[in-house]
């Protein structure tokens, strides 16, 4: 893959990588670093990159792995961080202030288990097919559907509580 080809085919993928990293890390700066790192890693393997039929899914998976790695390192250094990433089990649900609907949806998603959040994001924001989500999330396609269904139902149920 030449530099020009890489520029037009791969570099634009930084956006989906960034979006996923931003969601997982909950932080713009980390998301920028991580998504850049993924592009650079793909650049280093540009000779083989065309062998992968779905580079976007492949890169999203790398992104997720790198994020989990960073989160692990961070939680080693600060207990506080872990607490805030506890998927909201300890969060008092009634404390949510529905300042606006989109914010409410965002906060409700944040309270779901990590796998449900991931699958929802990949489907809703990145518009991936079930098979692609299965690849990124390390699940079987069937399991993806189940998790997706659970997440949607749970969201609806929570949402209606606040209406």
């Amino acid at each position: 893959m030449t530099r020009e080809e890489f520029k037009s085919a791969i570099v634009p993928l930084q956006q989906p990588f960034y979006r996923l990293a931003r969601w997982l890390m909950n932080n713009d700066e980390d998301a920028e670093d991580i998504s850049q790192e993924i592009i650079l890693r793909l650049w280093k393997m540009r000779d083989r990159v065309s062998d992968y039929n779905n580079i976007k899914a492949f890169g999203l998976k790398m992104t997720r792995n790198l994020c989990l790695d960073h989160l692990k390192k961070k939680s080693r250094n600060s207990v506080e961080f872990q607490a805030s990433h506890d998927n909201g089990h300890s969060t008092d649900e009634n404390r949510i202030e529905a300042s606006d609907h989109l914010n409410l949806v965002k906060q409700l998603i944040r309270q779901l288990p990590e796998s449900q959040q991931l699958v929802l994001q990949l489907r809703g924001v990145e518009e991936l097919e079930i098979d692609e989500i299965a690849e990124v999330a390390d699940m079987t396609p069937n399991n993806v559907r189940v998790v997706l269904s659970r997440a949607r139902k749970k969201l609806k149920e929570q949402y209606e509580k606040y209406q």
Binding site: F6, K7, R19, Q36, I39, R48, V105, R152
Partner: protein
């Protein structure tokens, strides 16, 4: 297909909640003019998330014309070289266990080193940190300045060797400085407890230094002095903060010299009575000089990396 009737809509929603809709069908739900709330808000949320974009990618980072093959060739020749060196080493030290050392050096920048036991070392400029590959023994050699965040492991103490002093901990944060050639090793503990001793086993004098304390080992007298004070500015290079509490201006200038890598020229008499209290967060040299101008009657002039201070002082 844009308008779907109520029954279709209901069916589609059921499918949606069962995770069985295709992407096209989801698009249909998204664009349908029905105002059903939970899904509409969910779709609107996804749409807003889709607009999130990173700052544009720094394309200059895509360099290195060498192909993978070229890199592999280099790696192979390096491996050969290492192998040869290793054989040579073994030849001359037949009974010695082959030990691989990892050495991290810094010149103009700081480096953060993640050790495999989970400890983190921030190595300041012009420093060197050396440890055995695998880091099973939790032992490092330090030259220069570093701040240690040591992962707790009661079974395996973490040791730092500097000059002729050893620092031993279970899990704490502390700062150490030893400049090669210098007779002094300085230690400052910000968390927990540290055992500080000379390598000299006969002395076997371990001094325990706790959080908020400082200790200095002096090689000439082979003694360790402990102080119940802590100078936060010793680690200003890491915290990016300079703190002063009723400090003589001379001390402020010394700390600033270390922090900014500049040299101040002044007349002792002018500043001898000045004292300063305050904290600088990630300051620039300009900001610090402005503060001095504001508080005291001191102006400055730059001459290369030298800052000449003038005025009537206090």
């Amino acid at each position: 297909m844009k308008n779907i009737n109520k029954t279709d809509q209901k069916e589609l929603l059921d499918k949606f909640y069962n995770g069985e809709t295709s992407l096209d069908e989801e698009k249909l739900l998204e664009t349908g003019d029905d105002q059903l709330s939970p899904e509409k808000d969910l779709f609107r949320f996804f749409e807003s998330e889709r607009k999130v974009a990173p700052p544009s990618f720094p394309l200059e980072k895509l360099e290195g014309r060498h192909s993978f093959l070229f890199a592999a060739k280099i790696a192979a020749s390096l491996a050969l070289l290492v192998l040869f060196g290793y054989m040579l080493f073994n030849y001359f030290s037949k009974d010695a266990e082959p030990v691989q050392w990892v050495e991290v050096n810094t010149e103009t920048d700081q480096k953060i080193i993640n050790l495999s036991d989970g400890s983190i070392v921030t190595l300041n400029k012009n420093g060197s940190l050396k440890y055995q590959e695998g880091f099973a023994d939790r032992l490092v050699y330090l030259e220069g300045e570093a701040f240690f965040d040591v992962k707790r492991d009661e079974a395996r103490p973490f040791k730092v060797l500097t000059g002729k002093a050893t620092t031993e901990v279970l899990g704490t944060s502390f700062y150490l400085r030893w400049l090669p050639g210098s007779a002094k090793v300085e230690l400052e503990v910000s968390e927990g407890k540290v055992a500080f001793s000379s390598h000299d086993r006969n002395l076997n004098e371990r001094v325990f230094v706790v959080a908020g304390e400082r200790a200095v080992y002096d090689e000439q007298s082979n003694t360790i002095r402990r102080f119940e004070s802590f100078d936060p500015n010793l680690i200003a290079w890491k915290t990016k903060q300079l703190q002063f509490e009723d400090a003589p201006l001379k001390k402020l200038l010394e700390d600033a010299e270390g922090y900014f890598g500049v040299e101040f020229a002044f007349e002792e008499a002018v500043i001898s009575n000045c004292r300063f209290s305050g904290t600088f967060d990630d300051p620039t040299l300009e900001q610090l000089l402005d503060a001095l101008k504001y508080v005291f009657d001191i102006t400055h002039e730059m001459q290369n990396s030298k800052v000449i201070l003038k005025g009537s002082g206090c």
